[in-house]
């Protein structure tokens, strides 16, 4: 047993992103029906095809049932008790950052994402999304010089309607699942990325999602298209204030990689997780999928999931193109009463496709952490290969970890390898480190980051350091 008293005595680090920005917002009434969807579409001045897309999705959603197969338990969500559109009140048209409400800029400053010209991050372009709308996107001109389009999806709908119409919903169709259908009906904003043929995006692109309002859901939609022989690295961060109610977050992310293109998508998810008693926190139901459409294309997901009361998320790859590559590197940490059911799907359709899955689940407190993954080899996936490694680490004796690997092979000439392990931080290991002068908390965090190293190595530099710190913070004072 890990020494209980030591643990309880340790100082608790509060969730430092839990503040609320006091800003006048424009909200529509609660509830979901066709009129609400029309209203959202109208507010965003959308073309007809998109309204049709939404209404069709809504019809499908009404016929669908909320999935219950995940190893999660939560109170039924009342979908009529949610506000589906909430935006900070701003001037009609904003032509420069100077016109953005300073309170919003301040909010992102506080989150460590400065947006103003003087302070903006030098090596990353940022799209900042606040509740239902995108506030600002930095480095747009610089990126435009390379032909890279990086803007909010609402803007893309206006300025690049052809690309939206061509690709939206082609990777995650509205009928894909309950939450994807809901998102397709009501999505408000999100990011759009287009990398033209032969271009290596000159800097990392990043979206920062901030939920501010307590009673509205967030339904963002991200679409990334990498044309032939292009490449991009995209980062996503998320935080939310502390409310004692649960907020629904149902996002859809679609990635498309054409011949020889590569997309690296990294997430550090730190939505508010609820308190120790499990009051409040974000319900995070997300559908993320990438389509390796082209030959030798590559999509790599890496995620560090530390927040949310509930996480339901399976970033996946459809490997269509010959010799295309899918990767999934994940660290999911749960503490207190958090629940996570996360993993990936690697669908091998084309020949000689390859996929790698490395999943590290860490459960502390009374939390529940499940890996759920599917590896499927289709009839044409000759000479394809998958390697999966799923490791769980338990901290304390109240936490639980599950691994649910599903393997379906319709192709004899393919290889699937699966390794799994479970370990517990032992008192002997802690004592060994402590007896070398290393403090208890640091000893735990050393072992946890050691356990996650294979995944951290895949993250972009700044993200890896952040992830390491985040994990240490999350575990501080709660190891028991």
């Amino acid at each position: 047993m890990v020494n209980e008293n030591l643990v309880k005595d340790a100082v608790k680090e509060p969730y430092k992103y839990g503040f609320v920005t006091d800003i006048e917002t424009e909200k529509i009434e609660k509830g979901l029906n066709e009129d609400i969807i029309k209203l959202i579409s109208q507010k965003k001045e959308e073309p007809k095809f998109l309204l049709d897309f939404r209404l069709k999705a809504f019809k499908k959603w009404q016929k669908m049932k909320e999935p219950d197969w995940a190893a999660l338990g939560y109170k039924k969500i009342d979908y009529q008790d949610i506000i589906y559109y909430s935006a900070p009140k701003q001037k009609e048209k904003i032509s420069s950052l100077d016109e953005v409400d300073p309170k919003l800029l301040e909010t992102f400053d506080k989150l460590g994402i400065p947006l103003t010209e003087q302070k903006k991050l030098t090596n990353v372009a940022v799209d900042a999304v606040f509740d239902s709308v995108s506030i600002a996107t930095t480095f747009r001109e610089e990126l435009a010089e390379h032909g890279v389009i990086f803007c909010s999806i609402s803007e893309a709908v206006k300025n690049h309607a052809d690309l939206i119409e061509k690709y939206l919903g082609t990777v995650v169709p509205a009928s894909d699942n309950y939450f994807a259908a809901l998102n397709s009906a009501v999505f408000s904003d999100g990011s759009f990325v287009y990398i033209p043929k032969g271009v290596t995006c000159p800097m990392d692109l990043s979206s920062y999602f901030r939920i501010n309002s307590g009673d509205s859901g967030q339904f963002e939609r991200t679409l990334i298209i990498a044309e032939e022989s292009s490449s991009v690295s995209y980062l996503e961060g998320c935080t939310a204030p502390m409310f004692d109610t649960n907020t629904l977050h149902a996002a859809v992310v679609e990635l498309i990689a054409l011949d020889d293109a590569s997309i690296k998508y990294s997430t550090v998810q730190n939505w508010y997780a609820g308190d120790e008693e499990g009051i409040g926190g974000i319900f995070n139901f997300v559908t993320k999928r990438g389509k390796c459409l082209g030959k030798r294309s590559k999509i790599s997901w890496s995620q560090v999931e530390t927040g949310s009361a509930i996480t339901w998320k399976y970033p996946s790859c459809l490997l269509l193109g010959e010799e295309s590559v899918g990767e999934f590197y994940s660290v999911a940490l749960t503490n207190n009463l958090q629940q996570a059911d996360t993993g990936t799907k690697m669908i091998h359709i084309g020949p000689k496709t390859k996929s790698t899955i490395v999943s590290k689940g860490i459960s502390a407190g009374n939390s529940k952490n499940s890996y759920r993954g599917l590896v499927k080899m289709g009839t044409k996936a000759t000479g394809s290969r998958n390697y999966s490694q799923c490791d769980s680490m338990l901290i304390g004796d109240q936490a639980s970890a599950n691994t649910f690997p599903y393997i379906k092979s319709q192709q004899a000439n393919s290889e699937i390898e699966h390794e799994a392990s479970t370990c517990r931080i032992s008192e002997d290991q802690l004592f060994y480190l402590q007896s070398r002068g290393i403090e208890f908390e640091e000893a735990v965090s050393m072992m946890v980051s050691g356990f996650c190293r294979d995944v951290f190595n895949q993250l972009p530099m700044e993200f890896a350091a952040e992830a390491d710190k985040l994990l240490a913070l999350k575990l501080e004072g709660s190891v028991g």
């Binding site: 020494n3 030591l6 370990c423 032992s426 008192e427 002997d428 290991q429 004592f431 060994y432 480190l433 402590q434 007896s435 070398r436 002068g437 290393i438 403090e439 208890f440 640091e442 050393m446 072992m447 980051s449 050691g450 356990f451 996650c452 190293r453």
Partner: protein
């Protein structure tokens, strides 16, 4: 027991120490005093409490002190955390060094060394300065640089693990080192390396407690005192020739002492 006059203050004083784990008494009144420059050997059968004594001095949380005191440099340390004991200069060389997957040996050694240096008000070392220091110390235990890039003790042979312990001792420069069966599982060459390492690290200011079953380590490092433990007590203390006698006559011989006491 140690009647002759000492010029300096003791490093470690264990006074009538009793301890238990899960309400099972393991130590039943152990007293032991170590002065600077002294080497003590503790011998005894398996289960006599020698390893427990070493763990309690290092602060293992599984044991409760039910009576008595442990003093280090005159201060009672009964309630100090293991890391505080280490930082202040107590070193325990483990009988079975623990494997810690994923944690690089180099980083572990650096963090550990810096924790001790911080306590001593010495400048903490960055990666480059630490590399220099560790290179020098690797010589002492004749270890290859490659050990540093591996995970702590993972996949190390028995001998490599023990040498890694002595490397840690060399880096931490403790006031007192308690070496729990550091000689077990070593071939004769490795034993010589380890023994010469210990001798190089220790000096007139440090104290050493060797816990061992065998004379062969004591041939290399001659102790000032030999203590025989049985059933949670020190039943006999003598000079280095006691170990030889013990080797010759076996532990059965010591059973008589228990009857005497």
């Amino acid at each position: 027991m140690q009647s002759k006059m000492k010029e300096s203050d003791p490093i470690l004083e264990v006074e009538n120490l009793s301890a238990s784990t899960d309400n099972l008494p393991i130590l039943k009144g152990v007293s032991l005093t170590v002065y600077p420059g002294e080497i003590h050997a503790i011998m005894g059968r398996n289960g006599c409490g020698k390893s427990t004594l070493s763990k309690i001095i290092a602060g293992h949380p599984s044991y409760n002190i039910t009576n008595g005191d442990i003093k280090f440099l005159g201060e009672n340390i009964n309630s100090l955390e293991p890391e505080e004991r280490s930082q202040s200069g107590i070193f325990l060389g483990f009988q079975y060094p623990i494997e810690i997957p994923g944690v690089s040996n180099l980083e572990f050694l650096r963090v550990s060394t810096n924790a001790r240096r911080k306590f001593l008000n010495k400048e903490e070392l960055d990666t480059f300065d630490f590399e220099e220091l560790v290179k020098e110390k690797l010589e002492i235990v004749k270890m290859d640089h490659a050990f540093l890039t591996r995970s702590v003790n993972q996949g190390f042979s028995g001998g490599e693990k023990k040498r890694n312990e002595i490397l840690q001792m060399a880096l931490l420069e403790p006031k007192i080192a308690i070496l729990d069966e550091t000689d077990s599982g070593l071939d004769i060459d490795a034993l010589r390396i380890v023994a010469s390492g210990i001798k190089k690290i220790s000096n007139a200011q440090t104290g050493i407690i060797l816990i061992t079953h065998y004379q062969r380590l004591l041939d290399e490092i001659k102790p000032n005192y030999v203590h025989v433990m049985s059933d949670g007590q020190i039943i006999k203390t003598g000079e280095s020739d006691l170990a030889l006698e013990l080797e010759e006559k076996g532990y059965e011989w010591t059973d008589n002492f228990i009857k005497e006491t």
